[in-house]
Amino acid sequence: MPDATALTEPPIPSSPAGEVPVQLLTPEGERVSHPEYDVDLTDEEYRGLYRDLVLVRRIDIEATALQRQGELGIWAALLGQEAAQVGSGRAMREKDFAFPTYREHGVAWCRGVDPLELLGLFRGVSNGGWDPQEKRFQLYTIVIGSQTLHATGYAMGVQKDGAVGPQADGSEGEAVIAYFGDGASSQGDVNEAFVWASVYNAPVVFFCQNNQWGISTPTDHQTRIPLYRRAEGFGFPGVRVDGNDVLASYAVTRKALDDARQGQGPTLVEAFTYRMGAHTTSDDPTRYRLASELEAWKLKDPLERMKSFLYKQQIADADFFAELDADADALAARLRAGCLQMTDPAPSAMFDRVYAETTPLLQEQQAAFEAYSAGFADAGAVH
């Protein structure tokens, strides 16, 4: 007999088959093939990808140290997510446009943004620092998930400009890529972006780095099905890729971008990876996750598997690795020196970039503020 006091929730549907991520490089560094995705790179390109991974990790480590030493206000580390970022970043063509979160240091590197510009932002001496149009890399977005709407709107603009499909100059059109995380997947903005991109067949790739933790919220509190399957409900394809495999991340993103630029519409790429560090330097992950989980993911390290592959295939030798380490140290030293030399901007500089062209009201406010600032006995000593 039904008992009103013994209500139970409906059972969680069991996970379906097919959620094994696309993989081209095993954690042991073995090349494997996949029926739909593959890459055929030159030795130079393989070495290039590994070089990116090492340098990006070195940037991240130095920035984390600088924050601990009081030189940055905060830093959002990408440790563990290098392959997802470098793979997807290198899959972009020159004209493709990326909309990042605040953790896409690896993508920024691939787009040619000087890491010092990133440090300036986290040091609080600039609001961004690079020209998004020139780098085809939007400024970092702190608000969770909102950049997916910006990216979708931009992609719809690309579409309306006729920049999708074969172009008069012989190129194949442009594509847009929006970065976000598993936590953002629960945001309304992201779901709205999915709807618009799907309905308008916008040339955008939604690149979700599922690093398993939205600050302290595990993925199973965000979704009851694998994230890539969300796409199906919105009416576009979704694919899960091993986000610690730079080759698979590259291959899957390249395919998704090509589909988009050729008018095939959006794709959701779920890069299955792990945030090895804290959410930001203000966070202490030992308070909510087990060390055993971290240890399990250490065995899937994106750099180690690529290094192992290069060694085994004799694509790189000891000299290459030694030189790369020296380059990484030099880059870190340059970042440290550059960061310590950054000076605070003049307070009135905050008026400079409110609008592309200033307004009379703004000029008035700036003049008033400057007069006020100059009214102190020690004016000039500050700034």
């Binding site: 409906p10 030493q69 206000g73 004016a379």
Partner: protein, 486 residues
Amino acid sequence: MSRLQDFRLPDLGEGLTEGEILSWSVQVGDTITLNQVIVEVETAKAAVEVPSPYAGVVTRIHAEAGQTVDVGAPIITVDTDPTAAPLDVPAPAGSDRAQEDLALTEMVPRPPEDDAGPQGALIGEVGANGRTATLVGYGPRSVTAKRRPRVDAPAAPAPAGASPAAPPPAPARVSAQQVGQSAAVRAGGVTVLAKPPVRKLAKERGVDLAVLQGTGPHGTVTRADVEAVVARTGAAAPELRSAPEPAPSYDTAARETRVPVKGVRKHTAAAMVASAFTAPHVTEFLTLDMTPTMDLRSRVQAMPEFAGVKVSPLLFVAKALLLAVARNPQINSSWDEDAQEIVVKDPVNLGIAAATPRGLLVPNIKDADQLSLVELARALQSLAETARDGRTSPSDMAGGTITITNVGMFGVDNGTPILNPGESAILCFGAVRPMPWVVDGEVVVRQVTSLSLSFDHRVVDGQLGSQFLADIGRVLSDPATALVWA
């Protein structure tokens, strides 16, 4: 750049003011490299390993493990050029070094015994070092908020607007300021502790909290303290006393919750109204000794055929009802108002009233009279699970011919059920309890229950209804009857 570099404790996480040294991984004399982890520091947010910004030899560690250090205070000094000439440890007086040391001394955090002020301070109190204890850690120092001097500021710090003719402005201003602030800071700067409603009461009654000695925990001023002062002094702002706030009227509506009627609730309401006001209900009752059925239940449950099947008292009540229907087929019928006919149903589709997440539902077991006991048990179990999961479909609820409602599972004795619309009888099964019962002239404890049967008097007369209910009772009192009737 000086050879000796101090590393000052940075703000490790967005707005922190201090950190506790958990452990040092280096000591004086150690050679360290850039970014080597030197110390673990715990802040209000996280325990973090801090890397050194300098390479060299450690010459001094300023704070031991366990000490809490202000952000900005030096924690370690590193000689960044140890291969050069040795340092003069006691630097010559008047040199830069001496001045540096002096500055350092000022910045060095007090050892714990000197720092007892804030540690022992209560929330809201200002500790001996000038910092206010807050709920989480300690807020910033509140003693010296210096203003930057303005170019054209007056030479004397006389407040703007103060009359130069007034000779003693200072004390007057201080007291005015005190009253104006909150009237709740004792001399010595300690905030008076009182809950917000008590503060409001004191304000309304014109009582200065700062003059009260609180009797609550930690000297908290309580409502009683304020009321005692009011009773003693009659303190109350006159205007407040003469014009008390009107007593709030008792507003019932404000404390009601209005739930929209929809879905199953709406359907149930419509069906019950339709049934209650179209079919003239008669309800009869029967109390009976169900002990033989309860004994039988245990034996049946142990039979291999019933492995994994739930054998409930309801199963036997349902079976008894089905047997009684076979003997009194007209009970399984409905009234057709339009055709002015009584429709006697051949199949017995047995409805079971179910409390579900969606509300009251009455799914039925189709052709229940054709089922064996084990099939009936399975059907009841499946119906219950489906209803509990909220998966009961409309077809499960359509076509019922007679219904059982089991109010006994809620522990109540019985009721007068309302007919499921379109049916002519509904049986209500009450709780089964150990009760005194007369057997062979002796009072003994037996498993007793009561049944009630509501029927549509347009279709069913008292005789038929009574026979039907009595038949059910006979089977439950003596299950052997079932063999005779089957």
